[in-house]
Amino acid sequence: MVLEQLVNAVSYSMLLFLLAVGLSVTLGLLRVVNLTHGSYYLLGGYVGLSVVRWTHNFLLATGAGAATTAALAALMFWGLLRRFLGQESAQVLITFGSLFIVADGCLAIWGGQTYTIPPPPGLSSSLLLAGAHIPTYLLLLIAVGATGAAAVYWVFERTRVGAMVRAAVDDRELAEACGVDVRALSFGVFTLGGAIAGLAGVLGGPVIGVYPGADLAVLLLALVIVVVGGAGSMLGALLGSLVIGFVTTYGSLYFPEIASGIVYLAMVLVILFRPQGLVPARGLDQT
Amino acid sequence: MLVGPNGAGKSTLFQIVSGYLPPDRGSVVLFGADVTRAAPYVRSRMGLGRTFQINALFANLTVQENVCLAMLGCRRSLGIWGQAVDRNIAGVARGQLEAWEMLEWSDVPVRQLAYGLQRQLEILLAICQKPRLLLLDEPTAGLSPRETENIVRLIQRLPRDITLLVVEHDMDVAFEIADHMSVLHLGQVVATGHPQDLQANSDVQAIYLGTGAPGRQ
């Protein structure tokens, strides 16, 4: 029981991290609150579902899901958002409008049912571990999530490109004067963030499922994580995901009546006592 | 009049006096009352007016609305049902604008106003508060010579019963308007006294020209 819950919480946290990381870096680097971020999850999940049905290949499905959402993110950034950097109200309308269009498109194509993506063959059983039944897929999720988190962390914290992104978050002007092409970097980060969220959609498919409305639900969770962790900070996104993952899992265990509100209670507490988030990125004020 | 090079602590001093920064130690006494812990608006109601080094105007409102706000600020009641454009306040505001030669701009949004005029309005707002002590933070920063002259004239026209505390970089302006002057360097008052005396003070000149200037005796 204890172990099961722990596995649940950790695997959920990993999924949340994949969701939130793109949103967090976009917010830190571009100061854009991308309300379409949840739609990447939804679209990725649906595309993954279809690909699994056609090809029965889960790996291919993750690739297809991520590629589709990457393309969508790239299109949105290049076609629209690029021109409205720094204009909050325009961004809200654009990203919310895109949310509506993507949601409606998915509804038209895939209908209103809730689907769960079948997990890859061989991972649909559970494992008896220390007297607890652990679904193997959750273990895969933890492994993939942890690897993904480690990879993102490594790129962000250890490579030259990652240092450039952090430099641009710190001081955009100075970064440009050091020869960093912040515009190209922004485009890359936005697209990559979309791809990772799409990947999360496919990976989350067997657990959370894909259904109309998942976009908004997931978006809100990602926003909460970003605010809890601190916008623009990789470690913050990880920590925020763990906090929210655990609060959700154990909250619904012990306080089932207010399970859906408990995440927000946690967020309100964090904002009141640590207004910059748990791990604030430097160079960001409360905007 | 406070003068001194960059980073000398002039603006910090202003922030502390007007209540935007708490002092680490010591106290601020305003008109005989200890206001060290009082919020900025409390000090303002006691008769402390200030301007900001970087214009702090209401950019989306018109010049007249800006002046109305300055006059509204010190009222006790917020006046939910009073009209902002009622003849009373608006009339007084227009009177003030006329007195300070800005009436022709009254309906222009401040955002569209020339910088020199914005700088004048910055001071005008503080005047409309009817302060007893007025802090001016670099009133001529970023202005052309002609605009600077306008500001100097404006300051010289102020009623003499307002005590003025001015931070200024432009020494010409400083000497023109000051009765009394202190030079700040690295958070310390280096010299204080009559402007004419300070002009001749070699320490003051050294601070402005940089230490060890070849031309210095």
């Binding site: 409360q286 | 600020g73 917020l78 508060q129």
Partner: protein, 345 residues
């Protein structure tokens, strides 16, 4: 004297126009009368949110909290205790105001994204309570069977009641916009630091605005409960909050006409387009994006000058009421003047 008389006539003209617009749906079939009533309720809600989003520059993503809490209060009192509608209304407003007071003390400490998320958080907690505290709220099924206020039972008479409530709220908000207080709030939006220096207790002023917005939002909530006859957790959901915020942005924040226009467009698009095609969400999304491309500051500031010109022409026919300068100085002062120079951020 002549000025006074012209002013009176301008007033009469304005009341007449508003009255005519409000009365127009009465000639339509009941479906459209109900729809118009719904527009009016959402217009009140959007107007109240604009007090925060437009006038004060604080974007709440949880305005449904006030709306929903008041709706639930009225529903609970009507359904469980059967008190009269006056008490339902007053209690609904009171609870919304109290929520605004307590919530305001919390959310007014932060700005920007954090304000958005805090308001969202409060609304979501209330939403979760409504979903799960079945004893009080009826859970996901909500509270059904709420009666309409007694003399206004029929579709048309209830619409008249709604129209009167709308006019009342519009008048209150119009007065706030014009008042010294409204000017102070706009001053705080532009530069809170300077407002402090000018002697305004900015926190108190902002708190007051939050309570006001909450109360008026609550008014809309009570009306909603009466109109629908059913209150379910949906009234507290983020969908309601987001939709209201979108109405404000779409129409043009900081004006009186903008939120009303936004409410009209969103409610009509949702309802009418959905009768034609299932793809109404796409229509709404495209509408948002086109608005950004064509009128980044909202539709009202773009359309208003054109409409005003038409009205000025009509005014001349009615005997020099709406001519040139007088209309500009005396006419809907803050909203009209703001319309000509929409604010940037």
């Amino acid at each position: 004297m002549r000025g006074q008389r012209a002013g009176l006539m301008a007033w009469g003209f304005r009341v007449m126009v508003v009255g005519m617009v409000l009365a127009a749906p009465l000639g339509l079939p009941p479906f459209y009368v109900n729809l118009s009533g719904q527009v009016l309720i959402y217009a009140i809600l959007a107007l109240s949110l604009d007090l925060l989003a437009g006038v004060l520059g604080l974007w709440s993503l949880g305005h449904a909290a006030a709306f929903g809490v008041a709706a639930y209060t009225a529903a609970f009192l009507a359904e469980r205790l059967g008190v009269s509608w006056g008490i339902q209304l007053i209690s609904g407003l009171g609870v919304a105001a109290a929520l605004g007071c307590v919530g305001g003390l919390v959310v007014m400490r932060v700005r920007g994204l954090y304000f958005m998320m805090l308001t969202l958080g409060i609304a979501q907690v209330l939403w979760a309570l409504a979903e799960n505290w079945t004893g009080l709220t009826g859970g996901a099924d909500g509270i059904p069977g709420i009666g309409r206020p007694s003399p206004f039972i029929t579709t048309n008479s209830f619409y008249v009641f709604l129209a009167a409530c709308f006019a009342l709220n519009l008048l209150v908000l119009w007065a706030i916009h014009r008042s010294n207080y409204g000017l102070i709030l706009r001053g705080i939006r532009d530069n809170a630091l300077r407002m402090e220096a000018l002697g305004v207790a900015t926190f108190r002023a902002r708190l007051g605005a939050y309570v006001l917005a909450s109360t008026i939002g609550g008014f809309a909530g009570v009306l909603f409960a009466w109109q629908q006859g059913l209150v379910s957790p949906g009234v507290l959901s983020v969908d309601t909050s987001a939709e209201t915020l979108l109405m404000v942005i779409l129409g043009g924040a900081g004006t009186l006409g903008g939120p009303i226009l936004g409410a009209v467009i969103v409610v009509l698009l949702e309802t009418l387009v959905s009768t034609i095609t299932a793809r109404w969400m796409t229509a709404l999304g495209v509408c948002y994006i086109l608005t950004v491309l064509g009128a980044p500051q909202g539709l009202y500031p773009v359309l208003m000058p054109k409409v005003a010109r038409v009205f000025a022409t009509w005014g001349r026919w009615f005997g020099g009421i709406g001519d040139g300068k007088r209309a500009r100085v005396e006419g809907d002062s803050p909203s009209l003047r703001r319309a000509t120079h929409p604010e940037g951020h």
